[in-house]
């Protein structure tokens, strides 16, 4: 509780430190507009037109439903990866044999292109939620798994010894000695896993389903509707930035005060 209050207390100062980021985004939009003036509306619609389309989209019930569908698939897929990746990664990290054996499997999972997984999933599950969710899990699970595994493998033996010398009870050993260290590895893995999930869900939808934001993107492509395509991209990037910079980053700063 105290911890969350502290995050809220430091939040305005954190937001205030974001002016540099805002300036850089505005600069990016300026370059975008230059691109529009050079290449014309069909290739690259102006930021203004894109944002107008975006505004209209966010007021149409149909698009909001599609966003909902995508959000559902991404969160189920990411949630499963989070749960299984963290738990299995921790377990694998605590046993030398398990971590040794899991390495090649992780390499296979990471090395296989997501597009190949989509094809397989389409054969296995057909065109629907399962295919998308499966692909999301396959793409973001290994990232989280490796994060958890690394965190457990790199635990400091000297601190363990210290904990033993003071006869820490097991729950203190976990909460005060192991957890903060593991968390500093697993949390960034969650963040990249989330980014991965969000990207893959769109791709899988584009190829394998008839609803969701990915499918909308496919329709925009077939109709050469560039403003809609860009507006959809803006939604995707905007939501990812919101989650990463407004929700996760403040937590990360508070949790890792001891590091920097």
């Amino acid at each position: 509780m105290k911890f969350f209050l502290k995050i809220l207390k430091d939040f305005p100062a954190y937001l205030w430190s974001g002016w540099g980021a805002v300036a850089s985004i505005l600069l990016f939009i300026a370059f975008w507009d230059v691109g529009n003036q050079i290449y014309g509306n069909l290739v690259l619609p102006s930021p203004l037109e894109t944002f107008k389309t975006l505004y209209a989209m966010l007021h149409s019930k149909d698009i909001l439903e599609q966003i909902d569908i995508t959000l559902y698939r991404a969160s189920v897929g990411f949630g499963l990866s989070l749960l299984f990746g963290s738990v299995l990664g921790l377990i694998a990290g605590f046993f030398a044999t398990a971590s040794m054996m899991s390495r090649p499997i992780v390499t296979i999972l990471v090395g296989m292109p997501p597009i190949a997984w989509i094809v397989l999933a389409m054969i296995w599950f057909g065109m629907g939620d399962e295919t998308v969710i499966f692909t999301v899990v396959v793409a973001s699970f290994p990232i989280i798994f490796v994060g958890a595994l690394q965190g457990t493998r790199t635990l400091d033996g000297e601190l363990k010894e210290m904990a033993d010398s003071f006869a820490f009870p097991w729950h203190m050993k976990f909460i005060d000695v192991y957890f903060p260290h593991i968390f500093s590895y697993i949390f960034p893995a969650w963040v990249s896993g989330l980014g991965m999930a969000w990207k893959i869900v769109i791709m899988a939808e584009l190829l394998a389903t008839s609803d969701g934001m990915g499918a909308e993107l496919a329709i925009a492509r077939s109709q050469l509707d560039t403003p809609t395509a860009l507006a959809l991209v803006t939604i995707m990037i905007g939501s990812l930035m919101f989650i990463e910079y407004i929700i996760l980053e403040p937590i990360k700063r508070e949790v890792e005060l001891w590091r920097v």
Binding site: E158, L159, E161, D164, S165, F166, A167, V177, W258
Partner: protein
């Protein structure tokens, strides 16, 4: 009567014999130091006595009620601030949090830390301050036996003296015993009732030296006189290989 008894203790790492037939007894209120060259098995012996390593051959009987350990390199939890690092030793013993924090603050002040430092994380502390926290953490539990693993070796002479004084005081007040390892003979003479000389390959005790005079009365003159005497000792010369350093 609380005591630490080590009988016929032998220890191997793989096929290498690290310690061979170690015997000694540490009684309540005594300070015993183990001196010897680096790599002689001192740390292994201390870890066996403290129960951080499993005894394979021989016996270690520790009847002291509470023990604490001060390590050479501090070993503070990097994600906890100064007070939390000290209080955690008490929390591990089931002390209430508010009480633990209060005791931690008291002992931190006694060990020369300032209130401004209380909230600092170990990364913001100097080496000396880390060691103050390390000692405070070990002594806050009022151990009846304290293990010290060369915790003075990287400290300046002023801070060393300050910590010696704290230790001698704790011994007097709480009848605390200390088992510590060092390669500094002067330090050993200042603090110990008994010095065990450990020769390497495999580590075994070649000689013991006893000092009876009260520790708080050991002034510089006494310590330097005794150190001058001890470096003339045949076993000391051989164990530390002092003769090879002489100018020809």
């Amino acid at each position: 009567m609380e005591s630490l008894e080590v009988k016929h203790l032998t220890h191997h790492f793989g096929f290498t014999e690290i310690l061979h037939n170690i015997n000694f007894t540490l009684k309540k209120g005594e300070v015993v130091s183990i001196v010897g060259p680096s790599g002689g098995g001192k740390t292994t012996l201390l870890h066996l006595c403290a129960g951080l390593l499993d005894v394979a051959e021989g016996e270690v009987n520790n009847s002291f009620k509470t023990t604490a350990f001060a390590f050479q390199e501090g070993r503070l939890l990097p994600w906890k601030n100064v007070i939390e690092n000290i209080a955690i030793a008490l929390l591990a013993r089931g002390e209430k949090k508010s009480v633990a924090i209060q005791k931690a603050q008291e002992i931190a002040l006694k060990f020369g830390l300032e209130e401004d430092d209380f909230e600092k994380f170990p990364k913001d502390l100097s080496g000396g301050m880390k060691q103050r926290v390390n000692f405070a953490r070990a002594l806050v539990v009022k151990p009846s036996l304290l293990f010290l693993d060369e915790p003075f070796s990287a400290l300046d002479i002023g801070l060393k003296r300050e910590l010696y004084t704290h230790l001698i005081e704790s011994c007097e007040e709480n009848d605390m015993s200390i088992l510590f390892i060092t390669h500094d003979l002067i330090e050993a003479i200042r603090l110990s009732d008994e010095i065990l000389l450990l020769e390497a390959d495999p580590g075994h005790i070649v000689k013991t030296f006893k000092y009876d005079s009260p520790k708080e009365k050991r002034d510089d003159a006494f310590v330097y006189k005794e150190s001058a005497k001890i470096v003339q000792d045949k076993e000391i010369i051989e164990t530390f290989k002092l003769n090879t350093l002489e100018l020809k």
